[in-house]
């Protein structure tokens, strides 16, 4: 055959093609397995289901060790779609108190991959969360009737007391921005949103653990990866003890019901906040569970802003309590001596000017001026300071010296309490006035009302309470703080450092003397408690919102003080009318544990005073919703 040899050569073509094909296949394998690296990650994403193990959130206790916030198991209804068999929907709906339409919609929503991208008919789906105990009991009883359904336990925050809501704060699902800011969080996580829950989130939350499970193509879990060798155990959150005395707090909230205002009490020797009442308040249990959304709306829309912590977020003119700071500054700056007297004839300047003053003996030295809360005395003082050209180059320098002293006393800037959203209040400086008056040549008379805590000056109740603590300590303070102790961690040194205002101790003694005189024979007689040496100062602040604010600042006992207090009631009139009696009751409650029977009539009067009538019953109202 002539072509025999010719065709035989084709074996080379065929062999070559074979080699070429295998070479192409091997090259492609090299590309997939060696050059491209991303397949490893895809494979891990496929196979590893990283199940988060949630740590128990830290428990919160009060200063006496009473449990305030803890975790309680709650129950979710879950189901595996594949395993569900036809069931009695009427019975099902009755137990859970839903309509059949809601039932069908829930099923449809769960199946909708746009709403629930992780849906698989083989894996557990959450049908309903946070059953009430009654629902749980009923459902458990009839569980056998609903094949495919099951109950899953989860931990939920629980509150032992209906008090201290603004201090404790609440916990809710993390927002998108929170997830972006902190990679710790992922969708569906809970985090503290306000109060201690928020400011001590890092301590309370603990550390999530992870269990690496193997997941097959249908989403079914096939076991643990390498027997859990790579798993991470969760770390429980740290338990926190507050400086708050929950009984005192509850009593304060009881007295403040039906009013807007705040009570702050501080232990001067440590800066621990003993109680921080902001009225109106709410029951923290309202912001739990399935009713969170609707209750939160109600609270947020309430015109009296119960979610707003007035003690640190509200800023008010401090009124006459501010006179104590003025006395201190004038003494320190050598403008006055304790014996310096100023005349007062129903106002400053003489003759019932502005501000006016009430009737009292004249002229008066400093301590009686504090006791009688003489407006003129401090106006003369401020005027003397600002106009002192021997000491200060000009009014601007004099004013900024005045301001610096106030800042050293804790005004004008955030005190740095361990709660979110603290307000800094407002203490003007010389630039502020120069800008306002459009000239650097302005006069003491222009700004004189700040000497009596009116005008531009604004402070938070916490700042004034801190002032009381500073006077109690005769010249130093510790940053007020809510958390007393974190289990397994030490308190931030921020709160253990003594802060000295820079004003002589003896001047503080003069102010304390004045405040003692106010209690024994001045404006503050309402807090004269037998066998306790109380020092106090009333305040009545004019404001643009209505009636004057009723204010009381004090501490007790005079020597080795145990407590500093500030009571503030919005638009309640004279300080002596509401703030002083409430202050008296609070001091009794704290110092003597119980309010003596002789004071019960004051308690009844105060608790029953409803100054914001349409909403006086707001708390109970929400409760029954």
């Amino acid at each position: 055959m002539k072509n025999k040899n010719f065709y035989e050569k084709r074996k080379y073509v065929i062999g070559g093609v074979t080699c070429l094909i295998v070479l192409i296949l091997i090259s492609r394998l090299f590309y997939l397995q060696v050059i491209k690296n991303e397949y490893k990650n895809f494979a891990d994403d496929n196979a590893f289901f990283k199940k988060t193990i949630y740590p128990a959130r830290g428990t919160i206790y009060d200063r006496k060790g009473k449990m305030l916030v803890f975790n309680q198991p709650t129950y979710d209804i879950v189901y595996i779609p594949r395993e569900v068999q036809p069931f009695d929907t009427l019975d099902f709906c009755n137990i859970l108190n839903i309509t059949k339409e809601q039932l069908l919609k829930k099923f449809a929503d769960i199946k909708d991959r746009r709403l629930n991208p992780g849906y698989s008919s083989y894996t557990m789906q959450t049908f309903m969360t946070q059953l009430t105990l009654a629902e749980y009991g009923l459902f458990m009883e009839k569980l056998y009737k609903f094949p495919g359904f099951d109950i899953q336990k989860r931990a939920l925050r629980q509150y032992s007391y209906p008090n201290a809501a603004q201090v404790l704060g609440y916990v809710a699902e993390v927002s998108k921005t929170a997830m972006e800011e902190d990679s710790y969080y992922s969708r569906g996580d809970y985090a503290g949103k306000s109060g201690v829950e928020r400011s001590h989130e890092i301590n309370l939350r603990g550390e999530k653990g992870v269990e690496i499970l193997l997941r097959d193509a249908r989403g079914r879990i096939q076991g643990r990866y390498e027997n859990g060798k790579h798993d991470v155990k969760p770390v429980s959150g740290k338990d926190i003890t507050l400086g708050i005395d929950i009984d005192l707090q509850a009593y304060g909230e009881y007295l403040m019901q039906g009013k807007r205002g705040s009570i702050v009490m501080i232990e001067p020797s440590t800066g621990e906040i003993l109680c921080m009442v902001s009225a109106p308040t709410y029951d923290p249990s309202l912001l739990l569970g399935r009713e969170f959304g609707s209750n939160f709306q109600l609270l947020a829309n309430n015109p009296h802003k119960p979610l707003f912590n007035r003690a640190i977020q509200g800023t008010y003119p401090p009124g006459s309590t501010f006179k104590t700071t003025q006395g201190l500054i004038f003494l320190q700056e050598d403008i006055i001596q304790p014996s310096t007297s100023y005349p007062c004839y129903h106002g400053y300047p003489a003759g019932g000017g502005r501000p006016a003053c009430h009737g009292h003996p004249s002229p008066l030295p400093l301590e009686p001026a504090i006791a009688t809360s003489c407006n003129s005395y401090f106006c003369y003082g401020l005027s003397a300071m600002l106009n002192n050209r021997k000491k200060y180059l000009n009014i601007l320098e004099a004013f900024d010296t005045w301001k610096d002293h106030l800042v050293d006393m804790g005004f004008g800037y955030r005190l740095g309490v361990d709660l979110p959203s603290e307000n800094r209040g407002f203490i003007p400086n010389s630039k502020y006035y120069s800008k306002n008056f459009k000239t650097e040549k302005w006069y003491a008379q222009n700004v004189i009302s700040i000497a009596i805590g009116q005008g531009e000056v604004l402070a938070t109740p916490l700042q004034v309470a801190n002032l009381a603590a500073t006077i109690a300590n005769r010249g130093y303070y510790y940053k007020p703080h809510i958390v007393k102790n974190i289990k397994g961690a030490s308190l931030d040194t921020l709160y253990t450092k003594k802060r000295i205002t820079g004003i002589e101790r003896s001047y503080y003694q003069n102010i304390a003397n004045g405040m003692r005189m106010a209690v024994t024979g001045g404006t503050c007689r309402g807090t004269n408690i037998p066998d306790v040496v109380v020092c106090g100062k009333t305040g009545t602040a004019q404001n643009s919102h209505g009636k004057d604010h009723s204010i009381f600042m004090g501490f007790a006992p005079m020597d080795q003080p145990k407590v500093a207090i500030f009571v503030f009631i919005e638009n309640a009139g004279f300080g002596a009318t509401y703030a002083v009696p409430i202050g008296r009751l609070m001091l009794q409650k704290y110092l003597k544990k119980e309010v003596p029977p002789s004071d019960k009539h004051i308690e009844v009067n105060m608790a029953n005073a409803h100054l914001i009538s349409p909403f006086d019953n707001y708390k109970n109202g929400f409760r029954n919703d």
């Binding site: 072509n3 093609v17 074979t18 492609r28 394998l29 397949y39 097959d216």
Partner: protein
């Protein structure tokens, strides 16, 4: 000689004459396959022993045992039997295929399984391959056989196409396509190389035509435009290959370049329809081929013209065939393999997952039984058609390359054995066996690593399944038996 059957010739002794290289390769691959099947069918929550008969690996071991016995029997039978009974075997295979069409139950959309018991099912399509190989080997080994006669070509085509059509009727497109492998055998026996080139061109035109079918260049698509330019280039090459006529080839290329260059200059002033220009260039090529054909009275030029016209017709019909003849799932598979669609939840799912499994194996692999993708069933059909994933994931690049090299060695060895046969029967049969293995390897591994469309055919010796293992064993060992007696034939 015929009367002397009882006499045992030395070359009938297996030990002395069988090609031990192939036998060794066979057993190495079969046992690699067995381990791969065990790894692929491994279940975390239900761990079975590799010998457990309720598992796939255990069953495969049974099939390996049966295959080994069968291989031994095949080697013991008289080698002439295969030649003599070739047509008979072919007829039985065809009969089985026909019966299957009517008897078979629908299993995953295919009607190719004969269910004997619940656990034993046979796929006649796997056995028909060796029937066809025997038959064409017998036919082509007849005295003074010439391939390129219309009658012989018709008979051969019929022999190959008949089972192909029957298997298509069973809706087993993959198994049917395997018969394309016989073209390589025919090529070795004298089929013009042009057929292979035409086939290659058809694939290239098809890929280009589809991949660039969305963009229009004037009156035609971009794919068609590129294809026309390719046709002109290939035509010039053909002129050189068949006539060694460098002048004509140069004329064709220069002519085309002149047409496009001139058009470009004109297009600077007047916008031109480039599709039209391509068709004009094509027409010029055609006219030139006809003129040259008439002038030299040589049919090679006319042949080039025929090639050009049929190519153009093919190119023009691609979109019609693709959109109107092919079924949607086939369209999707082709688009996925061309990278035109991802469709990760549908047609692209298998390939994407198998690429992830193989790619995650890295250079050295995750180790035996440590592959997560295959264990967790991310790859469908992982112990049958996608078995190579397990190798890729657990043994990495090293392991999969070794497996491919084993195949290369086996196939080249088979070509070598085929070439050393003294008669056409052994050679044709040997080439058939090697070509079928080559086709399975190319399409199966190509599919798993995303080079070829998803066509469900097994990987010889690795994929789970009694029918395919028995089929390949019979195919291979008949050839080894024939090879044992090569010296006296």
């Amino acid at each position: 000689m015929i009367s002397n059957y009882t006499y045992r010739r030395p070359d009938d002794k297996i030990k002395a004459s069988v090609d031990w290289v192939v036998v060794a390769l066979y057993f190495v691959m079969v046992f690699c396959g067995w381990f791969s099947i065990y790894a692929a069918s491994y279940q975390y929550d239900h761990v079975l022993s590799i010998f457990d008969l309720s598992g796939r690996a255990g069953m495969q071991l049974v099939w390996i045992g049966i295959s080994s016995v069968l291989a031994f029997v095949l080697l013991k039978l008289d080698s002439n039997l295969y030649d003599v009974f070739a047509y008979f075997v072919y007829a039985i295979c065809i009969l089985l295929l026909i019966v299957t069409i009517f008897v078979a139950k629908d299993i995953k959309g295919s009607r190719s399984w004969l269910v004997i018991t619940d656990s034993i099912r046979l796929q006649p399509a796997e056995f028909a391959k060796f029937g066809v190989a025997l038959a064409i080997a017998h036919f082509m080994s007849s005295y003074n056989f010439k391939l390129m006669t219309p009658k012989n070509l018709a008979v051969l085509s019929g022999m190959i196409l008949l089972p192909l059509v029957l298997i298509l009727l069973q809706k087993e497109t993959g198994s049917a396509l395997v018969y394309v492998a016989f073209i390589l055998v025919l090529y070795r026996e004298g089929l013009p190389g042009m057929v292979l080139i035409a086939g290659l061109c058809a694939v290239i035109f098809f890929v280009i035509g589809l991949k660039f079918s969305d963009v229009e260049v004037g009156m035609i698509t971009q794919g068609e435009f590129i294809s026309i330019i390719l046709i002109i280039l290939i035509s010039a090459c053909l002129v050189i290959a068949y006539k060694k006529d460098y002048a004509s080839a140069r004329n064709i290329l220069l002519g085309a370049a002149a047409i496009f260059g001139l058009s470009y200059l004109i297009s600077l002033f007047i916008p031109l329809d480039w599709g039209m220009i391509a068709i004009i260039a094509f027409a010029a090529l055609l006219v030139y081929a006809i003129v040259m054909g008439i002038r030299t009275w040589n049919k090679s030029y006319l042949f080039v013209g025929v090639f050009a016209i049929s190519s153009l017709l093919f190119v023009g019909s691609i979109n019609y065939v693709f959109n109107d003849v092919m079924q949607p799932h086939q369209q999707m598979r082709i688009k996925v393999s061309l990278g035109m669609e991802d469709d990760l939840m549908g047609a692209g799912y298998n390939v994407n997952q198998s690429k992830i499994a193989i790619g995650s194996g890295g250079f050295t692999g995750k180790g035996f039984l440590n592959g997560t993708q295959t264990k967790l069933k991310y790859v469908p059909e992982q112990d049958t058609d996608f078995i190579f994933c397990t190798v890729g994931e657990e043994k990495g690049f090293v392991g999969s390359a070794v497996v491919l090299l084993l195949y290369l060695f086996l196939i080249l060895r088979l070509f070598y054995l085929a070439e050393r046969q003294r008669d056409a029967f052994g050679r044709v049969y040997g080439y058939s066996v090697a070509s079928i293995f080559l086709f399975h390897l190319t399409i199966n591994v190509g599919m798993v690593i995303g080079l070829t469309p998803v066509i469900g055919i097994p990987l010889p010796f690795f994929s789970y399944g009694g029918s395919s293992l028995l089929g390949f064993t019979i195919l291979l060992f008949i050839f080894l038996r024939v090879d044992m007696t090569r010296k006296r034939r």
